[in-house]
């Protein structure tokens, strides 16, 4: 129920006074409400829940999980394989 999916913002616009936009989920585009993340910009990633952008995804914070892994094993080759 609290499922929220990350997607890439492709467009943000005003639709009859409502902040809306388009988000691509691995190539599948969907119209999304941006009233709760009004300053999101195309190219950024947002977390989407029931048709609403809920949060901007922070790229620097996203890499911190991998810092903990490196800390556990300094020579480890874990790198973020972002695509």
């Amino acid at each position: 129920m609290c499922l929220a999916v990350p997607g890439r913002v492709t467009e943000v616009f005003d639709d009859d006074g409502i902040r809306m936009g388009k988000v691509s989920f691995g190539g599948v585009a969907r119209k999304i409400c941006f009233e709760c993340v009004p300053d999101a910009r195309p190219g950024e990633y947002v977390l989407v829940h029931v048709g609403f952008a809920l949060s901007r995804i922070d790229e620097q914070e996203a890499a911190r999980v991998f810092e903990l892994l490196r800390e556990l094993e300094p020579e480890s080759e874990f790198v973020e394989e972002a695509s």
């Binding site: 129920m1 609290c2 989920f25 993340v37 029931v50 048709g51 995804i57 922070d58």
Partner: protein, 376 residues
């Protein structure tokens, strides 16, 4: 996909599990609050990877499961009114009320429609000006801002035929209720990542402090969950009941201020009854008087419904982490996802349904690690 695939690396998960094995020197009982986390944990078998002294118990964070029987019965009564289009998230359709579910109402002629978003319900209201359109607004703080915004937009657009049956619930009061129960076993929480993306961490600090339990706000992918567990174990080992944020890529300290503003504009905090648990003070949102025209409870006369609870099952104890699905004699026998008897079997995010979907009803007592432990 970016921000998903890299958090499903089995080798990385294994490294973190080894760290948990090394660092956990005594028994720890950790509850994951959110049903989405339960679903991931069972799907990926994360609980079975952990050492025997680190036990995960499953929390009440499935809003479909905990929506009270009264509310389900009200939804059924409203959906059955002539001229109503009743819009709901798909997983609510199968939830049994005192008599039957929304599919039964649909078979009897009710116009019940599945929507992905409350905005879809708004659109249906615009397209059907002569019909009453009711959105069934359930969910935790994650979903509540979407409902609040839709209610506010309906009023802004002067949509006189749209209303919402609101049964939103709040996580922190449920955690307090679990920790305050005399049979509580929970010593730490994996906090609900997507709820905290809206609310932030502020409400969790007083809980950690009052009950001396660490809370690590955690994401939903395998790597997130295992890292959350490792960080929780470290805090437990250090007897350090603080609140930490594992899910920093989406959760800010004070949450999403725009979403919180919409929540506050449309809703106010109220006591709410949870299916399987009972009434919890301040654990829900209701529509403010200023928006009562958009409140289905105000528009429809449904206040006097007396529900009948279905037969006994262990869901109340399962929702509080006191029992596991496999402790219930009805699990997988009389109670299945097709014929659910209680709260935790009605949605795929309920602990019983998650266990069932992973074939755990086929594995009988005594064969799995969590069941080799003494019955709590």
């Amino acid at each position: 996909m970016k921000f998903i695939d890299e958090y499903r690396d089995g080798g990385a998960v294994e490294k973190l599990v080894h760290a948990i094995e090394r660092e956990a020197t005594r028994p720890h009982v950790i509850m994951e609050v959110c049903g989405g986390q339960t679903h991931s944990i069972v799907r990926y078998g994360i609980d079975e990877l952990l050492p025997p002294n680190v036990e995960l118990v499953h929390g009440p964070g499935c809003p479909v499961c905990v929506t009270s029987l009264e509310t389900i019965d009200r939804a059924h009564a409203i959906a059955s009114e002539p001229g109503v289009i009743f819009c709901s998230f798909g997983d609510m359709l199968r939830v049994p009320g005192s008599s039957g579910d929304l599919f039964d109402r649909r078979s009897a002629g009710a116009d019940v429609r599945v929507v992905y978003s409350p905005l879809d319900a708004l659109k249906i209201a615009v397209e059907n000006p002569t019909r009453e359109v009711v959105f069934f607004a359930i969910g935790f703080e994650t979903t509540a801002p979407a409902s609040a915004l839709s209610i506010a937009l309906a009023r802004r657009q002067k949509l006189g035929n749209f209303s919402a049956l609101v049964s939103h619930v709040r996580v922190p009061p449920a955690m307090t209720s679990i920790l305050g129960a005399p049979d509580n076993r929970v010593r730490a929480f994996l906090g609900p990542g997507h709820v905290c993306a809206v609310t932030g961490l502020d409400e969790y600090r007083p809980i950690a402090e009052r009950f001396g339990v660490p809370i690590v706000v955690t994401g939903f992918e395998p790597l997130d969950l295992v890292e959350g567990i490792l960080r929780t174990v470290r805090l437990l080992e250090a007897s350090d009941p603080r609140v930490e944020n594992q899910y920093g890529r989406s959760v800010r300290e004070h949450g999403n201020t725009d979403a919180r503003r919409w929540l506050d504009e449309v809703f106010e905090v109220t006591d709410r009854k949870w299916r399987g648990i009972g009434a919890i003070a301040d654990s829900g949102y209701r529509v403010r008087d200023a928006y009562r025209e958009q409140d289905a409870e105000h528009r429809f006369d449904v206040a006097a419904i007396e529900p009948r609870e279905p037969p006994d099952c262990l869901s109340g104890q399962i929702l509080r982490g006191v029992k596991k699905p496999s402790h219930c004699p009805l699990f997988g026998t009389r109670c299945t996802p097709e014929t659910p008897l209680g709260a935790t079997m009605v949605s795929s995010e309920g602990a019983c349904a998650a266990y069932y979907a992973s074939g755990r009803h086929l594995v009988r007592l005594g064969t799995r690690r969590d069941e080799r432990r003494a019955d709590p």
